[in-house]
Amino acid sequence: MATLMRFTKTVMKNLFSKPVTTAYPAGPAKVQERTRGQVSIDIDKCVYCTLCAMRCPANAIKVDRNNKIWEIDRFGCIQCANCVNVCAKNALSMDQHYTSPAAKSVIVTYGAPKQESEKEQAENKSEK
């Protein structure tokens, strides 16, 4: 009999305890200080050196040095934070929140002339 009842203690505990799962998105997601969510850029610090684009293992970043455009493919990025580590100007950092799921690829452009930056704002909004 004892060998049949091995799981009973766990079951009893389980019946009288709160759920261990959290009801995301109704509640906030658990994140830690070091969580690598998505790459964010402080475009004013960027000097368009293309180092991040060269070192990205997933080729998710495109930098146009002449037109001063910095572009990232959000779903191409694998959140390895290599770009953050190699950027000599400390322009890049890792956000704690992830890119929201989407059916289409999300390519975000920074540092472009006027028109583009409006588009970027719209994209940024839709991202959130």
Binding site: L4, R6, K9, T10, V11, R34, N82
Partner: protein, 359 residues
Amino acid sequence: MGNRSIVPFGPQHPVLPEPIHLDLVVEDEKVVEAIPSIGFIHRGLEHIVKKKDFNDYVYVAERVCGICSFMHGMSYCEAVERVMDVDIPERAKYLRTIWCEMSRIHSHMLWLGLLADAFGFESLFYQCWRMREKILDMFEMSTGGRVIFSVNKVGGVLRDMDHEMLSNFIKQFDDMEKDIIELTNVFLEDYTVNTRLRDVGILTKEQGLELGVVGPMMRASGIAFDTRKLKYAAYEWIDVEPVVATEGDCYARTYVRIKEIFQAFDIIRQAVKQIPDGEIAIKAKGMPNGEAFVRVEQPRGEAIYYVKGNGTKFLDRFRVRTPTFANIPSLLETTKGAQLADVPILILTIDPCISCTER
């Protein structure tokens, strides 16, 4: 002699989320032969090494497998460090060891859950994964990722764990250990579970040696060997003895993995006690030129890494021999003569990871 027929198993199968395909030749309900085919998820990761800077390839190497990701990244770094003759700081070695053992606990808890799922014990499955979740949280706290950590680099590690974090982890491990004992006793002592595991899929020591079995499956057949004895990361300063069982059946394999969870807790405690202060990384100068082999003990068994550099920033060759690949012949041996209903459990007890087998 009954009627012979062929039952296809996988690559999509309810009990096994891994894309392996077996053609099972059955006679009534009994399996006479199993013919495997793999190659459904080959991604050509080894080839990328020729196109990516060897420093950046670490992040690709990690993605060889989603469960032993830390060990893949680490072993790649160790191999490149051996080629470049870099001796990384001791603290980095200890940190690597701690993350390795945490990966082992996470992997074995995952496996226990899947095993419970395979014999239809759903609530036990979820309880095992509940414990695994705690380890994932600790990983996120210490590295920033839940399954892919990106903390390795050639020359050391990228993140440190301070004293406070380590002692917090040790405290959590103490609590977890009690819960895990309670759960694993179900596997070891429950009557119903035992009927599914005992005397199923026996692999003898002789067969094991002949077929080149590795990892917990090897130790469950009475072969006392553990690659951690071969000194990589900080294992040379740590006391580790292989966990051995002699029966060679599914129960023995479960037993070995369960004991390894507790062994991993013990290793982490030793490592935290001994970890010295200091740097966590040094700069690796120059380019890799030459070749090196590294053997490490992953949760699934011994993995072998080969790296060949040519003096440029692109390596010539990177090769991984994963433990699952080495265990497939033994799997085929154990399925011979098994009941069709036991096949999912037999496949599970080698702890297959097809993603890393096919890279």
